[in-house]
Symmetry: C2
Subunit: 395 residues, 2 copies
């Protein structure tokens, strides 16, 4: 199960010379025939050509794709009409390799913004990837989508559905939003489950919410973010709502694993903090507060400095635009209580709190005592390296 393959798919990674530094930069996934597919994309109003094209492909094909083609090193974003022409050419070439229609191909790009794709290199890379396709090519594919990541990030899950098993293999790239040029987050999952497109779409959206939609490095969303799944129908059949829940759980678990890897891999990230919001009136309110904490520069620099400055946490909570009773707020780091009922907790110990914040991973829990809803978010530190990477790049 853990050899990074998935029945019904072939994968490849190839070097087209698009990235400045040598390495794989074109990835290809090809299914044996058109299969159920679903994807979620960036919510940025400025969308790269491949995102617009892929959204149309999923719609036109009614959720049946046969191939995914990815390039790293150039985002094909803010490239005008030529950008769409180039994205279409990538789809057409991948379709010819897979033996399907161009609207059955998902295209994704990541890298520098505002420069035309070097199509000679992209074309050569796709040709090479087509020649390299194989059942065991997922590791190469997972490398070909990387930009400034320190290494590939993959995960595998199996889940029993009825009497059969389904396998899910996934990979991601992006190093959060930390890397230069906005580090698009691209994630791809292949599964052999047999599941209709509409159900797959529901499973993906549900699984993305507490995972890839609940991580924040700096709160920016790129022009290219894409999370896609294809299901070959060679394994367990998803028939009932209970079956779909099992598949969704396995997918959520896989995406959670990938999201943690994404956060931890970011250059300049030393601490991954799980923000837990409890006692909110609604899930939406809880998520708004979690996001505000996770993106507050003052909280993030406190995380970087290992400073248990709970005033900044309360301040971020109060800035979320959510009605709340400040005099009810409790704040914990792991199991140590810093704030009780909006004031410093009687047993609060600065040294103990500081020791917790030295860990590479810990939790920050805020209880609003205002309801039964909650949310979870992954946050990280705002460090000197973040500034160096993003300020000094290109200059």
């Amino acid at each position: 199960v853990s050899d990074l393959s998935c029945p019904g798919f072939r994968f490849a990674g190839a070097a087209g010379g698009i990235k400045k530094k040598a390495g794989l930069d074109v990835g290809l996934i090809v299914a044996d025939q058109p299969v159920a597919a679903a994807a979620v994309f960036t919510q940025n109003r400025v969308k790269a050509a491949p995102v617009l094209l892929s959204q149309k492909a999923l719609k036109d094909s009614r959720g049946k794709l046969q191939a995914v083609v990815v390039n790293a090193g150039n985002a094909n974003a803010c490239t005008g009409k030529q950008g769409m022409i180039d994205a279409r050419a990538m789809a057409a070439q991948a379709a010819s390799i897979a033996g399907c229609r161009a609207d059955q191909v998902l295209v994704a790009s990541t890298g520098v913004i505002g420069q035309p794709l070097p199509m000679d290199r992209v074309t050569a890379g796709i040709t090479a990837a087509g020649a390299a396709l194989g059942e065991h090519g997922f590791a190469a594919f997972s490398q070909a989508i990387l930009t400034t990541d320190r290494g590939p990030k993959t995960a595998v899950r199996t889940v029993k559905i009825g009497r059969a098993e389904a396998t899910l293999v996934g990979c991601t790239k992006g190093a959060g939003m930390i890397a230069p040029n906005m580090a698009t987050t691209l994630s791809f999952v292949a599964t052999d489950a047999s599941v209709p497109p509409a159900s797959l779409d529901r499973a993906l959206r549900r699984a993305a919410l507490p995972t890839f939609n609940a991580i924040a490095v700096d709160g920016d969303t790129s022009t290219n973010d894409t999370l896609a799944i294809l299901a070959s129908a060679r394994g367990a059949k998803v028939s009932t709502a209970k079956d779909l829940a099992k598949l969704t759980d396995a997918l959520t678990d896989l995406l959670d694993d990938l999201a943690h890897q994404l956060m931890a891999d970011g250059e300049g990230v030393h601490h991954v903090v799980t923000i837990e919001i409890r006692g909110a009136a609604t899930d939406k309110a809880a998520r708004a507060i979690a996001l505000r904490i996770a993106t507050s520069p003052l909280v993030k620099t406190a995380i970087a400095g290992g400073d248990p400055n709970w005033g900044r946490i309360l301040c971020a909570v109060g800035n979320a635009g959510v009605p709340l009773r400040p005099e009810r707020l409790d704040v914990f780091l792991d199991d140590h209580q810093l704030v009780a009922a909006g004031q410093v907790a009687p047993g609060h110990d600065e040294a103990r709190a500081a020791a917790i914040m030295k860990q590479a991973a810990y939790s920050m829990t805020i209880d609003l005592h205002g309801g039964r809803a909650g949310a979870r978010y992954l946050a990280c530190d705002l460090s000197h390296e973040y500034v160096s990477i993003n300020a000094d790049y290109r200059s």
Copy 2:
């Protein structure tokens, strides 16, 4: 006019020993009698005791105050019931000095969060300030409200209304939100204009919108932010709508001056960038986009590095949650065009753009070509010093 005095008021600054480092830390403004007053406060849901008390005072007194008392070094925030008791004690002592009721006093505090006010020192400081009150005490007052600011920030304006003149003297503190412990922004204006409380309130809200409500260092709002104005009615009388517009213009100009000083004084700030949004459908949409650019860590690190990375600017524009046509976007740095119709502008010159970004102050203009509304915002860089100051403080 520019000797920092204002007919009808006495001012003082005194040293109570509340701040760790020696210096003035208690400020007092006393009017000859109850006068028209208005204030705007933090929109954070977690409000410090002095903010809650001052909001009540303005309401109870129907906008007629006679004194302002401020301490620096301790924010009296997240201090529970004792915090409100202490804020009331500050108001009572100032009222006794001014000879007015306690609900005719505005109280403001700034400094560390979550620690009880050292009331013996606060009381001693207010006593000393009362003894030091004088017509020429504004400079001392402007120093007494500082925390980590590098120096006092004051401004004076005079405006002719009818045949008479009105003077406005103002001061601010905060160093943006850059300094440790969230650097409350406190600002106070005294004027001798004769204007009813309701008109003064309208003038203040209108003047605050494009000035103190349009600056962003990191997008966080403290628990204590306060901007207040008192009008002694010793100078020009504001009778007509035209008169009020003149006063509002002068106040806007004064606050704009103070806001620029606030941004430029921030430790870790090397560049103050005026974000101009044009061609928006509504002012609200324009402000949302300006705020998003001004708080984007990727834009702010690009400003720090002097990197004309226009992809990050477009990305921030797209992340503002405002409907727009990406293919219409124009981007300028000063008068140099980087982006035309969503793509790199034909005449774009990286070296020229980088030279513009070396300046201490420059403008970044985004034209959406989608309407006639606009907004202006002041932004700054996210620098290594910001991280150092906020991460390494206390640790």
